[in-house]
């Protein structure tokens, strides 16, 4: 792709720039197509998660049975005391940590430091996998206490279906992200991208996906666990 098509530095800033970007005889978004497509995919994913969260909102509003108190349902007894939401808090911190290591990996990718990029991406994947592991533990605990998609002993039946759909779909995204991260990490390490012009934009694209997974968790944590 020629420089002229991708060039983004010279155009005007602000709304004039928006008109320029869309109307000039050039590619609209001055970035590799893979990155623009990842952004558009993430936009569509935003709508999927929004549908889940909005449907959760409407069943919670319309249910006449009392809604189970997440603070109590997700409490764990550690060292003899019951701590509310403790596992969810740990999961939140793990995901933020993984977002940090991912941001570092992207930065190292642009510096073409292949070794550091590889290890930071592997660290991100390990943190992601431990997140999924804790989620599996959470599901096991809730299922053993009798929470099902069609009912539970703690209150409104819709609690279970919302919980399994929302966290399940998010967990699936995390699992897919771990695989994606590992594939890209090993390709960074074995020189796959060197043969393709030594361009490490792919690390940033992977990073966008990973940060999005963390972003969705921010909303799930606020609306499902804290509300």
């Amino acid at each position: 792709m020629s420089e002229a098509i991708l060039s983004s530095g010279a155009e005007a800033p602000g709304t004039k720039g928006v008109a320029d970007d869309f109307s000039r005889d050039k590619q609209v978004f001055g970035m590799p197509w893979g990155k623009a497509m990842m952004w558009i995919f993430l936009l569509s994913d935003t709508f999927i998660f929004s549908c889940f969260l909005v449907s959760y909102m409407s069943v919670r509003i319309s249910s006449t049975d009392p809604w189970p108190i997440p603070s109590e349902v997700f409490a764990l007894t550690l060292f003899g005391t019951s701590i509310p939401l403790v596992l969810i808090a740990i999961m939140t911190f793990i995901l933020i940590t993984s977002s940090g290591t991912m941001a570092m990996a992207v930065n190292m990718g642009y510096r073409k430091d292949r070794n550091k990029t590889f290890w930071l991406m592997v660290a991100t994947a390990i943190l992601g996998a431990s997140f999924v592991g804790m989620q599996a533990f959470e599901w096991t605990k809730l299922i053993s206490e009798g929470v099902r998609p069609w009912g539970n002993p703690f209150g409104a039946a819709q609690f279970g279906s919302s919980f399994f759909m929302i966290t399940g779909f998010h967990g699936m995204h995390v699992s897919a992200g771990v695989i994606y991260l590992l594939v890209v990490a090993f390709r960074v390490k074995n020189g796959f991208y060197e043969k393709r012009g030594g361009n490490y934009e792919i690390v940033e694209i992977t990073g966008l996906y990973w940060h999005f997974v963390d972003l969705v968790w921010v909303f799930i944590f606020a609306f499902f666990y804290l509300w």
């Binding site: 991708l6 530095g9 602000g14 978004f29 970035m31 709508f47 929004s50 909005v54 933020i96």
Partner: protein, 115 residues
């Protein structure tokens, strides 16, 4: 490209990383300290938007992207406000009709048993 992709000093990321930890800790405290009612909901929303803003703006580099991309990606989700408004309105109506036709809930939930 004029600049080589999204190249920023590491200190920016460390700052935001630290702030995300702090804000997450605050939002956990909202639950731990058992704030209730309007105060709880306001704090949850504030901390949520602060965290989401940091992640999108800094970690996903949206702050440094051109306005065309910002508008194309962050504009459409605004339509969700309409969906939220419609569905909350609908939800309240359904709840009212349920109470009217089936009466108040008599369910007595168990308190969670922890093992």
């Amino acid at each position: 490209m004029a600049e080589e992709g999204q190249q920023h000093p590491l200190s920016v990321y460390f700052w935001i990383w630290g702030l995300l930890f702090v804000v997450s800790f605050f939002s956990y405290m909202v639950d731990y300290l058992q704030f209730q009612g309007a105060l709880r909901w306001t704090l949850i929303l504030i901390f949520m938007f602060v965290k989401a803003g940091f992640i999108v703006a800094i970690f996903m580099h949206m702050k440094w992207e051109r306005l065309a991309l910002k508008l194309a990606i962050m504009g459409p989700p605004v339509a969700l406000l309409v969906l939220i408004w419609l569905m909350s309105y609908e939800g309240l109506y359904i709840e009212e009709t349920r109470v009217e036709y089936y009466g108040e809930s008599t369910m007595e939930p168990q308190t969670p048993a922890h093992h």
